[in-house]
């Protein structure tokens, strides 16, 4: 509500400009907040899209887990995904990493589906606004902290205090180790932030870009002149290109998240 007032005053002052950040607004679904003990617990559009991601993911996995002897197309797609992740875990960690394959697989699939569902042009259905749950650091940071917590727990459980030798690379002379250990420690501590930040910023930046070009299309058509139509057409072509790039980025970011998680797990399991 407060946002709408601010938006109204801004439009009155500057005219209808481009507001690319509006699409990331987390709002309660039916317009009113539900509070319990001072906390806002209303069902937001973010929560709705997480549920949608979960539903689609569930449907995709259950449809392909019929264990037919001769896999159909669907089962082949699911087996391709599971095989991809378990192959990645095997090459990065080895047989000891097989225990963590389900976690990394869930992470990969959730991020991939959330990224892709955020790109579905739901805006053409009146009253619907697409929302990318991974474009919020609240979600990506939680996923990153999960990975980091698992790394720390597994590291200390497997190696005890010997886990600290992670900060001193093998065969370092003591006078270099004094310099290297704090740097390694800092880079270890920065990991969850860089992991969460990368996914969040990549998705946010792509959606801002799409929104800006979409605004150009509308404003070009509204300006009413051949020049505006040319700008509009060029921007529309640009949207198609950026959308294709975003599909690639969605897959790459999901892969990078899973890959880095498996590398960090490798540090914890095998030290180095």
């Amino acid at each position: 509500m407060q946002y709408k007032q601010r938006e109204a005053t801004r439009v009155a002052a500057e005219g209808p400009g481009i507001d690319p950040m509006h699409q990331f607004k987390v709002e309660p679904l039916f317009g009113h907040h539900l509070t319990l003990g001072g906390y806002d617990i209303s069902f937001t559009n973010s929560a709705l899209f997480m549920v949608i991601v979960l539903g689609v993911l569930w449907a995709f996995m259950l449809g392909g887990m019929k264990r037919q002897l001769v896999p159909g197309r669907w089962q082949a797609a699911v087996e391709g995904m599971t095989g991809f992740i378990s192959n990645m875990m095997d090459t990065n960690i080895g047989p000891k990493g097989r225990k963590f394959t389900p976690y990394v697989f869930s992470l990969f699939m959730f991020i991939l589906f959330a990224n892709l569902i955020g790109l579905v042009p739901l805006g053409i259905v009146p009253g619907w606004h697409p929302f990318t749950v991974t474009s919020h650091i609240t979600l990506t940071a939680v996923l990153a902290f999960f990975s980091f917590a698992i790394v720390i727990l597994v590291g200390f459980a497997k190696h005890g205090l010997h886990f600290f030798s992670l900060f001193v690379p093998h065969g370092t002379p003591w006078y270099i180790a004094i310099l290297v250990a704090p740097i390694e420690f800092m880079s270890f501590l920065v990991r969850p932030f860089s992991l969460g930040l990368r996914l969040f910023v990549a998705m946010t930046a792509g959606h801002i870009l799409l929104d800006v070009f979409a605004s150009f299309v509308v404003q070009g058509l509204n300006s009413g002149g051949p020049m505006g139509w040319v700008v509009s057409l060029l921007s529309f072509i640009m949207i198609i290109g950026v959308s294709a790039l975003e599909l690639l980025v969605s897959a790459i970011q999901a892969y990078v998240f899973a890959l880095l998680t498996s590398l960090y797990l490798n540090d914890a399991i095998n030290l180095h």
Partner: protein, 76 residues
């Protein structure tokens, strides 16, 4: 110079960092392709390292983007 224009200039300067990351990412993939064409047999085994390098190079550009966004929307 008033604060708003200074903020806009600062955000624009921060955007240079994003372009620098583009150089870095292009270098990662270009070097990989160069090596992969010389020895295609070893290329598949290095794909993980390719994406680690990509992720590291890209992160710094994304941080520049975050700085630009912080300057524009958060700094009062």
């Amino acid at each position: 110079m008033d604060v708003t224009s200074a903020k806009m200039i600062g955000a624009g300067l921060a955007a240079i960092g994003v372009g620098m990351a583009a150089l870095g990412v292009g270098n990662v993939f270009g070097s990989f392709l160069e090596g992969a064409l010389r020895n295609p047999g070893a290329a598949d085994g290095q794909q993980g390292r390719l994406f680690i390098g990509f992720a590291a190079a890209e992160l710094l550009g994304l941080i520049a983007f975050v700085i630009a966004i912080l300057i524009l929307f958060v700094v009062k």
